[in-house]
């Protein structure tokens, strides 16, 4: 925003020459990514990045997207540039993008660096806090020249999170086990965004203290942690098989209270503005769970 105003001012005061690199935004690797003019051909290297650009009002500038980019529906029509962990470098080059949006946890650093050597700018995302989502929207909109739309989206996301914070900050603590996979049994710690969502809703993640972001744990550890509610997204839509497996332990407080819940997939798993919807849904779920204790 500020950069754009400076640009405008510079333009009005001294029409020529335009500063060579006028649009700059700082990415998650703390690098200043600068473009001489708003990006018009953007390639997104992960489904989350695709969603963020559409939310930032730059959807029509996206010319290629990583596999599994299925939201918003328009994104499904975009040319594919490979799976996020194995990019198709030729396909990306052929699209002649002026900006790629990469994701620290999914894309290969080497592949993206190779493309940078070939002259394509990269903007890295590494969402670790809720605030990282609106901030990414703002930064991306600077590079795409769509600040107004992005500003609105960012503000409404922030307001939504604040509202949930206010509503649940004094909620009764409830012990939560969030299962993200079953074989091996995996959960998330408190640094993961889902872990932060649990805390925001007044939940206590029973494995929040573990050092790794996505710890692999044993059934035994879950039984000992005695969660009062078990939440998962399942393998796919409406897959209750994982929850049914826990029914074999009727002494588990979550099972005894009937607190086994399926959350809509994608909403929490992807760090995008839809996460607000996911967090809100999770908070309601935990509220339902409290009522059953």
């Amino acid at each position: 925003m500020i950069h754009r105003l400076t640009l405008l001012a510079a333009f009005l005061l001294a029409p020529l020459p335009v500063p060579a690199e006028a649009l700059c935004a700082r990415d998650a690797l703390e690098r200043d990514v600068c473009l001489p003019e708003p990006a018009s051909r953007i390639v997104t290297l992960s489904p989350g990045a695709t969603e963020l650009l559409f939310s930032a009002g730059a959807g029509e500038r996206v010319v290629g997207a990583g596999a599994w980019s299925d939201y918003p529906p328009e994104a499904e029509q975009l040319p594919r540039i490979g799976d996020s962990s194995r990019l198709d470098l030729e396909a990306i080059l052929a699209l002649q993008p002026d900006l790629m949006v990469a994701w620290v946890d999914g894309n290969s650093r080497q592949q993206v660096e190779r493309l940078e050597q070939l002259g394509i700018k990269a903007f890295w995302l590494a969402p670790r806090e809720f605030e990282d989502i609106p901030r990414a929207l703002e930064h991306l909109s600077v590079l795409a020249g769509t600040s107004e739309v992005a500003e609105l989206a960012a503000e409404s996301f922030r307001a939504g999170i604040r509202e949930l914070q206010d509503r649940y900050q004094s909620a009764e603590p409830i012990r939560v086990f969030y299962q993200i996979w079953d074989q091996p049994l995996m959960t998330i710690n408190r640094d993961e965004l889902i872990g932060k969502a649990i805390e925001l809703c007044g939940g206590v993640n029973v494995f929040g203290h573990l050092p790794r972001l996505v710890p692999r744990i044993s059934t035994e550890a879950v039984l000992e942690a005695a969660p009062q509610v078990i939440v998962t997204s399942g393998r796919e839509q409406n897959d209750r098989a994982w929850l049914a497996d826990w029914q074999t332990y009727p002494s588990l407080p979550a099972v005894a209270a009937g607190n086994l819940f399926l959350e809509p997939p994608d909403l929490l798993a992807r760090p995008t503005v839809r996460m607000l919807e996911g967090v809100s849904h999770l908070c309601q779920t935990l509220e339902t769970a409290r009522g059953r204790l």
């Binding site: 049994l185 044993s218 035994e220 550890a221 000992e224 005695a226 002494s251």
Partner: protein
């Protein structure tokens, strides 16, 4: 060889086995003291303790014992059959076939029994494939069997890589854990223990013939052993053992290679002793390795294959170094 010199090491191994199983049941990520464990076996204990010990730990420990025993006996049989010290249960591509079956099932979004079932089917397919190809026409030798198996195994390896490359990232951890060998979803230990027991009872009377066979097929034939049927029987039994183990726990490495060698160095090379000793020592090793896998970074878990390889590699290197 006198009866007592066979019995003594086996009795020692049985005692060690009981010790290992007790230890494994007593420790885990949940802190249950020995007293409470004994109380559970006496029929008491809280509901949580009972679930932990009887529903989770006991089946898993027994599964680990079964898988270790199955693999060690299979390895010993393969080494006799191929007359090659580097032979292990997987050398002929059996685990590769099982892995392709299991991974395809996982790729299709299946879990549990379907994955185990297709792993077993894959292992049996691999066995028949190698059998058919090596049988072929013309003369048959262990080295022909070995070469056929190794090449087929390489083919399975390529298919595994292909499947991994096509799999969405979220499904990879499950597959990698399967490939490394993991006991956390081994299910019921009974079938494994039963197969182990049956095969042991079946091979023990063959011990003498196997001893002769280990020296070479010419000598065995000269001494009146019908070599060809014996070799195919050994191949079939080793395959059934390995397929059962792989179905229960994925491709747990090194047990089948290292345990027979360790025992031969300690006890000599009499198959009548080595085979039952393998069943016990393999079981003990895997029970201990799995206990480590459960508690090293508890409550986080490691796949047991990592531990067996970490223990197996230096042990094997040491044995090789010493035997020079």
């Amino acid at each position: 060889m006198a009866g007592s010199s066979i019995a003594r090491p086996l009795v020692a191994l049985v005692l060690l086995g009981i010790l290992a199983v007790t230890l494994a049941i007593a420790v885990g990520s949940a802190q249950v003291g020995v007293g409470r464990v004994l109380w559970v076996f006496a029929g008491g204990g809280s509901e949580l303790d009972r679930t932990l010990i009887l529903d989770l730990r006991l089946p898993r420990v027994l599964s680990a014992f079964a898988v270790g025993g199955l693999l060690a006996v299979a390895g010993a049989l393969m080494q006799v059959l191929l007359r090659n010290p580097l032979a292990d249960p997987y050398v002929l591509g059996l685990s590769g076939g099982a892995a392709v079956g299991a991974l395809l099932a996982m790729l299709a979004g299946m879990a549990g029994l379907v994955v185990s079932g297709s792993a077993f089917a894959g292992a049996m397919l691999a066995t028949l494939l190698v059998f058919g190809l090596a049988h072929g026409s013309g003369s048959w030798t262990p080295s022909r069997l070995l070469l056929t198996g190794v090449v087929v195994a390489a083919g399975w390896g390529a298919l595994i890589t292909l499947i991994l490359a096509m799999t969405p990232a979220a499904r990879l951890p499950g597959m990698l854990y399967w490939l490394m060998g993991d006991l956390s979803h081994s299910g019921q230990p009974r079938p494994g223990l039963l197969v182990l027991l049956l095969v042991c009872l079946l091979v023990l009377p063959l011990g003498r013939s196997l001893n002769v066979l280990a020296r070479g097929s010419m000598q065995a034939a000269a001494l009146g052993v019908s070599v060809r049927p014996l070799e195919w029987l050994v191949y079939l039994l080793a395959s059934v053992l390995t397929a059962t183990a792989v179905t229960m726990a994925g491709a747990v490495g090194f047990v089948g290679l290292v345990v027979p060698h360790m025992l031969r160095l300690l006890l000599g090379n009499d198959q009548r002793l080595i085979l039952p000793a393998c069943a016990l020592a393999g079981g003990i090793l895997l029970v201990l390795a799995d206990t480590l896998a459960r508690v090293v970074i508890a409550p986080e878990q490691l796949p047991v294959g990592v531990i067996t390889a970490l223990l197996g590699v230096p042990t094997f290197l040491y044995l090789l170094y010493r035997s020079r």
